[in-house]
Symmetry: none
Subunit: 123 residues, 4 copies
């Protein structure tokens, strides 16, 4: 899986990596149990410090997406806990996005379509 960093983004690097890995797991590009690159390998590949990648892996671990051990490196967890609900933070974000889109003249059907595409992994 290729990680792409937008150096002009306000989103911190460790969070950009985190987001892309979560999206990779959701889309199936990263499979359950699959090995992630080592901290050092990923840091080298992206061209950043390994502390930054390490931070990402620790967040993903604390969120229950991956597991790490010193022998095998990091792997996608076989079973990810399903809360069944959208987090409050994500709901807030969703409301903000809907408000902005609505003011931009976007119809709700367009947002639905985008969500279905993301959900199905089509794009």
């Amino acid at each position: 899986m290729v990680i792409k960093i937008d150096e002009y983004s306000d989103v911190p690097i460790y969070m950009q990596i985190r987001n892309q890995i979560v999206m990779g797991i959701s889309s199936g590009e990263l499979k359950a149990g699959e090995q992630l690159p080592t901290v050092r390998a990923l840091a080298l590949e992206i061209g950043i410090n390994s502390m930054t990648v390490s931070k990402t892996y620790q967040i993903l671990k604390s969120e229950g997406y991956i597991m790490t051990d010193r022998k095998n490196g990091a792997r996608v967890r076989m079973t990810i806990e399903k809360s069944g609900v959208i987090s409050d933070e994500n709901k807030n974000e969703l409301r903000r996005i809907v408000s902005e889109s609505r003011l931009s003249g976007v119809a709700p059907e367009e947002i639905h379509k985008l969500i279905d595409d993301y959900y199905s992994g089509k794009i």
Copy 2:
């Protein structure tokens, strides 16, 4: 319109205010042409630094949501430019949220419903 600051949030205060005003305009709570509180009044009401509110107003102005003049203070613009599309940043956010929700076992219909509720201003 009442602005509520979540002091536990990682979202900067000026951005929390900005988001709530945008959502207020979208929901109709803030009408086209409506007067916003003065920088000082709003700062006093929320209990924060005037500089923070000032920053919010400058952003809202640069985004085309409000207009300011020295005589009348800040007002919601009569007509807000409609790009007709969801911004790339919001698309990225949407994809992240969909991925996380999907991994949490949320069905797409639930996300649709939430969006319709936000869009219609029901909640």
Copy 3:
């Protein structure tokens, strides 16, 4: 509140600090809403790097014990979420400690007494 680091301990420094602050909050030595030392001040006082203190504060924040903002520094949260249960990790630890103590010939009453002393903040 005085933080004491045991440099010979296997417990990482950031975790030693974390534990002492949590115990300080529980005992009442650190009160709800009370200001914690700044990252730099505490680092200087203990004689460690500020990154290490920063890591501690982020953990305490993610655990819901404290809040941080760039204006005021870190403060003990006014209300700490009460799960009402002992975490599974702590239960495991408790079982290990009870097993070892039992094999050392310690009576259960002695453990009870210790717990009451810790709970009441007597020691």
Copy 4:
């Protein structure tokens, strides 16, 4: 006795095994003088490196829980030294656990009950 490794745990494997054997001795599942599996057998059974099991046995030996000889392998000691006190490390852990549980709204009686259950080997 069945040893179960939690691959998601931060506790090193050799320590997980060590803890389970100590708890097995305390509960009586492992009797005084009882033969432990050979290093190789246990490593094979758990599916880990023999070095790891070997490390566990050395620790248990140095702690006075087991004895090893080349002929008979490892056995639970007939008499385990009773210090009569809770170790300082365990006291520290206990205080931390009590503090966290207290902040979670757990009553001291609940902790007592848990300890009695562990002590009596009921659970």
